[in-house]
Amino acid sequence: MAEVKELVKKLSKKYGKTRENLIPVLQGIVDEENCLSKAAMREVAQEMDISAAEVYGTASFFSFLNTKEDGKYKIRVCKSITCDMKGKQELIKVMEDMLKVKLGETTQGKRFSLLETNCIGLCDKGPAMLINDEFFTELTPEKVREILGDYIRNKY
């Protein structure tokens, strides 16, 4: 709790306490804590002098401001039409098998979340996905095995 308080204080000092700094502050918390806990949102509300409902209202609108804890590594596979046509479904199957979770779920120990996302602007090199902020393009089942295998073995 004390840590969250410190973090919120630090971020609101860095960006400012007025409402237009809410999203940068929330993003800062997600970067550090991997999600927006209720405690964190309450802290933000207090610090910025707005209601907690307002904070939650904004947070719940955006797909990158998650209010439920999920994996440290968020795999977002593009599901928009051209990536879909080029075989994203097969890629998801491969990753479901490797991670032993279904699409939308998080592995035990909260290391990986397997998610779908709308167009990520890499359509000319589809199918594509993001793992956190890193992007991967022209994916094939083999390529996905290699990339995800590397994460599983080497990134904690």
């Binding site: 409402r19 609108f61 039409i81 046509m85 709308n118 167009c119 602007g121 359509c123 902020d133």
Partner: protein, 387 residues
């Protein structure tokens, strides 16, 4: 309607042939009114999709009286099939920043933002390097205009300018009623110009070549060149700069795989054109486009395409206004019901009516444009939706 042969041009992506920010420096020597008039004369229209005349927007904003004005570069590129703004920010960011700075200079703005979509966060380090170079030159030219990056948080609707502004103010990205327009009452209640990345880059090129030269490109209705993001069943996927006003049959011949069944022009918010209409369709005439062009060959099920679009809409509708929130869900359920036989084929006509009602009653472009792709797919590929 006028058209001409498909022609690749090299205006926006032409290399920087002069010292950094020379166009900005040169333009700042001129008379402000003359600069705005040049942009109006160039016929440049917003390149994000809506197509509002850029010169007029700048003129109106310049006339506003305010202690502070904001310039926002809309890099919330979320339309499925669009990736040209990413390429612009990677390859020619100085043209984008120059456009913003010239806009700031003529309108009297001191603060600019690049609203970057969250999915493009990996672009930030390079952009920051480029921004440092810009700041250095701005100082040299004695221009009081700084540019900052505002990172989005993942919402398609925030590409709509008022939703974008709401989100920058720390609120849910729900579009506002218009009027008032952002040029009167935008970010924090101040006059705000929101232009697409490509619009700023193109305006820089107008000032480099002059309106007289620029207007030679394109047709009577649509001037200049435009970036097209081409994806789907094409051996040549990528971003291409084309002169506006070419016919779709030539386009399909150049970029298709020889088996093109339909082309989606303008992204999910645009129209799906079947092969039989390629000859009569001129890209960029009548309807403006953001440049997303997705090509489908004969192996693709148009039911799957439409289903994918509707899922996208149902998810990305902000939920604020009922026609869009409920309409997108009902259209999706509706085509599923027709497909599995629980509703008769005629039900598709009711669904088209519903989409038309959404066009009339939705608050913003998201809900208003669903009917474009919905009607064009259902009308042209009815049998594929049914069977």
């Amino acid at each position: 309607m006028t058209s001409h042969k498909l022609r690749k041009v090299d205006v926006i992506f032409s290399p920087y042939s002069v010292a950094p920010y020379k166009i900005l420096k040169d333009t700042m020597q001129r008379d402000k009114n003359e600069v705005i008039q040049e942009l109006i004369d160039s016929g440049l229209r917003g390149r994000g999709g809506a197509g509002f005349p850029t010169g007029l927007k700048w003129k109106f904003a310049a006339a506003e009286k305010s202690d502070i004005k904001y310039i926002i570069c809309n890099a919330d590129e979320g339309e499925p099939g669009t990736f040209k703004d990413r390429k612009l920010l990677v390859e020619v960011p100085r043209k984008v920043f120059s456009g913003m700075a010239i806009c700031a200079w003529v309108t009297g703005s001191t603060k600019g933002y690049i609203y970057l979509r969250r999915e493009y966060r990996y672009l930030i380090p390079k952009l920051k390097e480029e921004l440092a170079l810009y700041e250095k030159h701005a100082k040299e030219f004695d221009l009081d205009f700084s540019i900052e990056i505002f990172l989005g948080a993942g919402a398609y609707v925030c590409g709509e300018e008022t939703a974008l502004i709401e989100s920058m103010e720390g609120k849910r990205g729900e579009p506002r009623n218009k009027p008032p327009y952002p040029i009167q009452d935008g970010f924090l209640g101040k006059p705000t110009i929101v232009n697409n990345v490509e619009t700023f880059a193109s305006s820089t090129m107008v000032f480099r070549y002059g309106a007289k030269e620029y207007i030679k490109l394109g047709t009577d209705d649509q001037h200049g060149s435009k970036l097209f993001s081409i994806s789907g069943d094409s051996p040549k996927e990528g971003v291409y700069e084309l002169e506006l006003g070419m016919r779709l049959d030539e386009f399909a011949e150049e970029f298709g795989d020889g088996d093109t069944k339909a082309v989606q022009v303008g992204g999910v918010a645009g129209f799906c054109i079947p092969r039989k209409n390629f000859k009569d369709t001129i890209i960029g005439e009548g309807n403006t486009t953001g440049g997303s062009t997705m090509i489908f060959n004969s192996t693709r099920s148009m039911y799957n395409v439409l289903h994918n679009y509707l899922e996208f809409y149902a998810e990305e509708s902000c939920g604020q206004c009922t026609p869009c929130r409920v309409g997108t869900q009902q259209l999706l359920k509706g085509i599923e019901a027709v497909k599995n036989g629980t509703k008769p084929p005629q039900y598709l006509d009711n669904l088209i009516k519903l989409s038309e009602t959404m066009k009339l009653t939705s608050k913003c472009g998201l809900g208003q444009s669903v009917t474009n792709s919905f009607s064009s797919i259902v009308n042209n590929f009815r049998e594929e939706i049914l069977f």
